[in-house]
């Protein structure tokens, strides 16, 4: 979420860039390059694609800054260009790997109570939670999310933008953002639960 200072700095840099001051562009690159790359990488999971997307976006910012009218935050504009460039890449590349989220949603009995046994792994040791294996699993699970849920999840939970801003960037209603995010979280929670349950079962066998 951009603070007021961040927003004011963005506005100043945009004004300067529009006036032809190239140093302003260097500042913008410094602020946004990593964010653009990270989002592109999390969407494409491919370093070459992420690099191409980053280049496209930087070029667009430079060339199309005059079309930015300041109706939304500058960062929203940058995220939107990044998403468009990343989707272009995805369309030319891999097949959609997404899965149906339905079967991963919680199940209930007739009286509305949870049916599955629930392991609380939230207090597991940090070394387990942040192991390489877990990280890989998270990447794979995020890759399996349908595009609609994935992008909401990346902007809201990973980039930590507010619900309102995500709605602005994606041109969605607030309830739509919420429901997509909730579904994404349920899916990822389930994937992580399966992973940690397997781990716990392995531990018991030893």
């Amino acid at each position: 979420m951009p603070t007021q200072e961040e927003r004011a700095l963005d506005e100043k840099l945009v004004r300067e860039l529009k006036a032809g001051k190239e140093e302003a562009f260097d500042e913008i690159v410094k602020i946004y390059q990593r964010k653009i790359y990270a989002l592109a990488f999390n969407l494409t999971r491919n370093p070459m694609d992420a690099q191409d997307v980053t280049q496209d976006v930087l070029l667009s910012i430079f060339k199309k800054i005059d079309t930015f009218q300041g109706k939304s935050a500058f960062s929203s504009w940058v995220y939107r260009i990044t998403l468009n460039a990343a989707y272009m890449k995805l369309r030319t590349r891999k097949k959609d790997q997404s899965v149906s989220l339905e079967e991963m949603l919680p199940s209930f009995n007739n009286s509305g109570f949870q049916q599955e046994k629930l392991l609380d792994w939230s207090e597991a040791t940090d070394s387990l939670l942040f192991s390489k294996e877990t990280r890989k699993l998270i990447e794979q699970a995020v890759d399996q999310l349908p595009e609609k849920e994935k992008v909401v999840f990346l902007l809201r939970d990973v980039e930590e933008l507010s619900t309102e801003r995500v709605a602005e960037i994606l041109d969605l209603s607030i309830p739509a953002v919420k429901s997509r995010l909730h579904r994404a979280r349920l899916f990822l929670r389930k994937k992580l639960s399966q992973h940690f349950e397997e781990y716990a079962a392995r531990g018991e066998k030893k």
Partner: protein, 79 residues
């Protein structure tokens, strides 16, 4: 008294702090009597945190940083 299904539907708004007082109270009552929902709440919360901390570790590889710098200098600015 709310059931687990309702409880999980309310989870999102509960964590956002946007539930009205009465609903929040009955949800918390449900939590007291339902360890599975507590586990669910905890792991739901941790999921977001864990994913964020894993996925924001993405750094631009050094070679790509150099290429990007070159791109900005030679392709963008000298255009």
């Amino acid at each position: 008294m709310i059931c687990c299904r309702e409880c999980l539907d309310l989870l999102y708004d509960y964590l956002e702090g946007t539930l009205d007082e009465k609903v929040r109270h009955s949800l918390e009552e449900h939590f007291q009597d339902c360890p599975p929902c507590i586990s669910f709440l905890n792991t739901y919360k941790t999921t977001s945190r864990l994913c964020r901390e894993s996925l924001t570790q993405t750094e631009i590889p050094e070679i790509v940083q150099i290429k990007l710098r070159d791109f900005v200098q030679n392709k963008i600015k000298k255009h």
